[in-house]
Symmetry: C2
Subunit: 368 residues, 2 copies
Amino acid sequence: MPDIHASRRDRLRDRATGSGLDAVLVTSLTNVAYLTGFTGSNAALIVAADGADLLGTDGRYLIQAQHEVPDVQRLIDRKALGAMAQMLAKRGTRALGYESHVVTVDERAGLVEALPDTRLASVEGAVEELRATKDEHEIELLRSACRLADAALAGLLADGGLRAGRTERQVGRDLDARMLDLGADAVSFETIVAAGPNSAIPHHSPTDRALDRGDLVTLDFGATYRGYHSDMTRTYVLGEPADWQREIYELVAAAQRAGRHALGIGADVVAVDRAARDVIGAAGYAEAFGHGLGHGVGLVIHEAPMMGPTGTGTLGELMTVTVEPGVYLEGRGGVRIEDTLVVRADGPELLTLTSKDFTVLPDRNNQI
Amino acid sequence: MPDIHASRRDRLRDRATGSGLDAVLVTSLTNVAYLTGFTGSNAALIVAADGADLLGTDGRYLIQAQHEVPDVQRLIDRKALGAMAQMLAKRGTRALGYESHVVTVDERAGLVEALPDTRLASVEGAVEELRATKDEHEIELLRSACRLADAALAGLLADGGLRAGRTERQVGRDLDARMLDLGADAVSFETIVAAGPNSAIPHHSPTDRALDRGDLVTLDFGATYRGYHSDMTRTYVLGEPADWQREIYELVAAAQRAGRHALGIGADVVAVDRAARDVIGAAGYAEAFGHGLGHGVGLVIHEAPMMGPTGTGTLGELMTVTVEPGVYLEGRGGVRIEDTLVVRADGPELLTLTSKDFTVLPDRNNQI
């Protein structure tokens, strides 16, 4: 996709030129990947006002860089960042943008030493801002990632993989294996399987606790596909539900619906969070929803925009975000429901398609 | 293990006091884990000359921090780093050490703003230097991690899991599953399974290429146990070996032996690298060994000391390192053999116990 990457670099170049910079040095690996398609573990990128862009990496990635980034000049050096600074000095760079939220104090000192006559200016968050708005190519990859997660969960449920007697860890590994079998490149993050009282812990790591009848079971998981992450949460009840379980499930589902409906071009992120939060608050559970409503998702699992009570900014077309309210009752259990959606002019597009209807799983007696 | 963590903090405290610092602010998560035992994903630590240490994290980790770090005062705040800077200002801190190789330019600006009357001094690498020398508690965890990897590989081989017809990806996932089944908390890194010509690529990612008769197959993998990583590589031949395969195998094995024997207290890391490299060079394969000999291993998979041609420093007692020479013949195949070992006064202790004898695996016709 050289065209897509070139147009992304052009957008950054426009911003650099507008700020009077000769070049921007990009050192966030994710941002380099976004701007070039390079997937190695060591890289930096110069986006130059005059178009003389340069990708730096080390000898391990010589062939990979040729293959992935045919349209940008490459500099191969064991200490690529230092060599790129030398190159910028040779070019007579007067004003250089750099990622002050990524560059360490020591790295900046190295730049200052190599570029004594260059003014360094922060371009903090510039590429992250570009990344927040997806293009249709990215959305297609996100759609594929979400489809893999949907299919893995459908398979798990169809095969009775979510049943009393299995441990949280077993269920998590089963779900992970299904995503990989279906073609995921990796899992998006450590899969959360939280059963019974554990479902009241939002970021619970799977344990050897066995799922039991009457448990709420929360699954929060995602697949990575060509660098893009899906993120979805579903909560089920094993066997006959208690009234309180059904009550908080329907409450969270209503809040999640309100949050989804609030997604729109120009919507303030705080207002979207509040749309869902007010539903939970009105039912008297405000204290039981202790985290933000959602976040952008793309090349990393948590990225701009952040949608919470202390967020800033508004949503734009083609931003891709999660909506994931929850109600957590310590010692008893919790419910979280999460989708990944694309903000569009004619209403949000849902990428995670698994049903959110209240679902009671059969009370099986199968052995593991 | 509060005692162990307290004594680690005391070592850093001694260094801070010796440098005239009132406190050190530790922001590397790995370093915080080393000094406190805390395993959450957001934390910072103050190690104070007067003993008033403070762990900062956010509300998600309230209970976990109480449990894991009972012996250090805790500060819970959504923006823990900012709150800790306020606390340091309140304490009248005049000289503060900080990790300039970890702290970003923006984070440093935040510290300067919150601490206008404080001198900031880099303590770059101070904790990493402490970490390079393990204590017996850490070595026991590393031993457990290595044992898990040994057992997983033994099971894979015993069950005929390494055979023609299986893909690199299938073998990798089988090995990973075995480590997790045996009790690993995670895998140390993406398992490398490289068969045939792919074995000439040192950091090959597993593909859908099927293993074939006559292939060299390299497995480079490790288990994580309670935060500590194992690292081991073995190379096998499937079916009847060619002379060149046997030749480079025995060469790499001899080089690896030379490298292991060169490990000793006071040994220069460059000399250890050379001990192995000279064996390969003398056989005319210098160009085919393009990476360093090994690295420290512990809370992260690659840590100090780095043992390569451009390394610096000497080995000390209880440093734990890998020794992993390789010979890579592009388009044909390669061999790498790697162990994890502890430097000890009476000679290195081998932690990865799987045989390194030249092993030809049976030429099975099993289907997958």
